[in-house]
C-alpha cells in the first residue's frame, strides 16, 4: 500500500516493469470527475467504486481514506501550480517575473480546470481538510509574489484583483462566446495589465 505522500504510485513506476494495475490512477481520475461534478461531500465511495466496477474495499486497498484520495489528486494534478510558485520564489522580483508567474499560473490552471473548479466550489467542505489549506496557501503566496512589499493599499488590492480576475475568470470563460485560445489570451492580458498598473502607482 502506498502512502498519501508518495506522489502517485503507478505514475512513479513508469519506466520500470509496466505497473500491473492502474487502479490507483483510475480511482484518481474517476474521483476527480465525480468530485467536480457533484462535490466532495456528495460523492460517496460507493459511487466511485461503482463507476470503477470495483468494490469499496478495493478503494481502501489503495487509499487509506476518502481524504487521501483527494490529497493524491491534488498532489498529482495540482503540481504545476506548486512548480510555478517554486520557480517564482527563485527569481528576482522583477515585473517580468511577475508577468511570467501569471502566465504560468494561467497555464497550470487551464491544464486542470476541473480540479481547480472543484477546489473553488467546495471551499466550505475542504476548509478543514489538508488540501484546502494547501490550496489557500498557494493562492496567498501567488498574491504576495506579485505584490511588492510596502505597496500602498490600493495597489495591493489591484494585484489581488488581477489574480482574482485571472483565477475566477478562467472558470467563467465558457460563458463567453469566441475562440477558446483567444479568450484565454484576452483574460491573461487583462489580468497582467491590471497587475502592471499596480507596479507604477499614478501620481
Amino acid at each position: 500500500m502506498r502512502s498519501a505522500t508518495d506522489p502517485g504510485g503507478p505514475v512513479a513506476e513508469k519506466g520500470t516493469r509496466q505497473s500491473r494495475s492502474n487502479t490507483r490512477r483510475r480511482i484518481q481520475e474517476v474521483a476527480l470527475e465525480l468530485f467536480a461534478e457533484q462535490g466532495y461531500e456528495k460523492t460517496s465511495l460507493r459511487e466511485i467504486a461503482e463507476a470503477l466496477q470495483v468494490t469499496k474495499p478495493a478503494i481502501y486497498y489503495h487509499y487509506q481514506s476518502k481524504e487521501e484520495i483527494l490529497e493524491s489528486i491534488f498532489q498529482g494534478v495540482g503540481r504545476p501550480v506548486a512548480e510555478a510558485i517554486e520557480w517564482a520564489r527563485g527569481q528576482p522580483r522583477t515585473l517580468e517575473t511577475k508577468r511570467e508567474l501569471l502566465r504560468r499560473y494561467e497555464a497550470a490552471l487551464n491544464d486542470t480546470v476541473p480540479l481547480f473548479r472543484f477546489l473553488r466550489q467546495n471551499e466550505a467542505t475542504l476548509r478543514d481538510l489538508q488540501v484546502g489549506k494547501e490550496f489557500n496557501d498557494q493562492m496567498t503566496e501567488i498574491g504576495e509574489l506579485i505584490t511588492d512589499p510596502g505597496t500602498p493599499l490600493t495597489e495591493q488590492l489591484r494585484c489581488m484583483g488581477a489574480l482574482l480576475t485571472l483565477h475566477f475568470g478562467t472558470f467563467a470563460l465558457p460563458h463567453f462566446e469566441g475562440d477558446a485560445e483567444e479568450k484565454r489570451t484576452a483574460l491573461l492580458s487583462i489580468a497582467t495589465e491590471m497587475m502592471e498598473r499596480a507596479q507604477t502607482p499614478r501620481e
Copy 2:
C-alpha cells in the same frame, strides 16, 4: 405554515400584525451562522435545533425542509441585491447607472457578508438547489447590466473582472491591513475604474 415562496417571514411581516413568534427569524439567524461556519452539508438540523434549544420537529413546523430554510434566508437577507438589480433594470444604461449599480451591490454585499461568503464557499453543494441557481442568475445579470451589448470580448471580460474583483475582493479584505471603510472604498474604486475602462475602448 408558510411556503417557501413566501418572501421570508420577518421581512414581510414587519408592520403587519405583530409577528406571532420570532422562532422563524431565530432559525434563520442561527442557521445562517452555522451554515457560514461549517458549510451547508456539514450543518445538520440537529445542530441547528440544539443551538436554538428546540427539537428538530419544531424546525419542521416552520419550514418544510432544510433547503427551505436556506431559501428563506436567501430571500430575506439577500433581498438588497435583488433590489439593486431591479433598480438598475428600470434605469437607462448609462455609465452612471453602472457605477451606481456597483456601489449598491458593494453595499448590499457588505451588509450580509456571511450569507454571500457562504454562497460562494458552497457552490458545489448549492448547485442543484434553487438558491444556487438564483444566486448565479443574480451574478450573471449584474454582469450583463454593466456590459453593453455588442462590446468586444476584451471589454466584456474586463467588466467581468471588475465584478469578480469587487465580489471576491470583499471576502478577502479582512486579510489586508488598514481601516475597514478605507479598504471598501479603495476596492470599489478599483472595480469601478476597471468597469469604466471597458466602456471607452482604446483605439
Copy 3:
C-alpha cells in the same frame, strides 16, 4: 434525549405519569442479555435492534453510542456494588464491617450475575472503556477495604484470595451440585473465613 449519567431515564419517571415508552429500559435489558451471551464486541446494534423489533436509529435516539448503553447498564444494574462500597467507606474498619462488606458484595453479585459475568468475560474488550475502569476500581477498592494497611504480604494476598474466591466462585457455583442457597452460604463462609485468617496473623 437523556445522557449517560442520568441514572436511567424511565426509571426515574416512575410515579409520575406512566412513562410513555419503556424502550430505554428494554434496550438495557436486551443489550445486557446479548452482551452476556455473545460478548460486547460480537453483539452488534443490528442484533439488539432486531431483538427489540425496532430500527438501529431508534437505539441512537435513546443512547448516543454503543458504549453508552453499556454505561447505563453498569450504572443502573451495578449500583448495589457501588452502594456497598460507599457504605463500607463510612464505617469503622472493624472485622464486622469487613464481614458485612463481603456479605453485601456477595448479595449484589448474586442479584446481577449476568452483568458481572459479562464484565469478567470481556475484560480485554472493556479495558479501554470507561466501564471497565470503573469495574476494576470497584474490585480494587473492595480489596483495600478488607485489607488493613501495613498488613504483611501473605495476609494481603489472603484477603485478595478471599475476594477472588467469592467473586469467581459465584460464577462457578452452577457447576456444583446442591441447593443454590446452600452453595451461596458455603461460598460466603469460606471467603469470610479466609479473610478472617488474614486479620489475626499467626505467630
Copy 4:
C-alpha cells in the same frame, strides 16, 4: 502447510531437520503479544502482518485462519499445563500429588503469564472457539484432580477457591509490593494451605 492439530511448529521441530523458516514462530510470538495487549477481536491480521513486516497472505500461508494461530499458540505455549495435568493423571491421588500439581500449575502459569492472562480476559470471545473449550476443560480437570470424589460441598468449594486464588492471584501479583519470587511463594503456599484444609474436613 501444517494443520491445526500439528502440535505446534517450533516445539515439534526442534531437533528434527532445521526448521525451514522461523516465520511461523514469529507469527505466534507477535500474535500472542498483540492478543494479550489488545484482545483477540480487536487485533486484526493487518496489525499482526504489519508488526511482522510481512503481508497478510503471508500469514495465510502458515495458518489457515486467525483462530488457527491462536490454537497453535495455545498448543505450543500452553503445553506445560497440559503436561502437568497428564502427569497428575498418572499419579496416585495423594495429598503430595495434589501439592505437586498446584506447584506445577503455578510454575506453568508463571512461565506464560501473557497467554493465560489473555485467555482469562477474552473468555467471552473465546467461548465458541476450540481454544476456549480446551482451556476451560483444563481448569475443570485440575479442579477435579485436587478434589477427592465424595467430598462435602464446602470442601469442594474450598478446593475451587484454592485454584481460583492461585490462578487469578497470579495475574494480580504485580499490583502488590515486594520481591517477585517471594510473592509467588506466598501465593502458592496460601493456595496450597487452602487446598489442604479441604482434605481434612474439621469435625
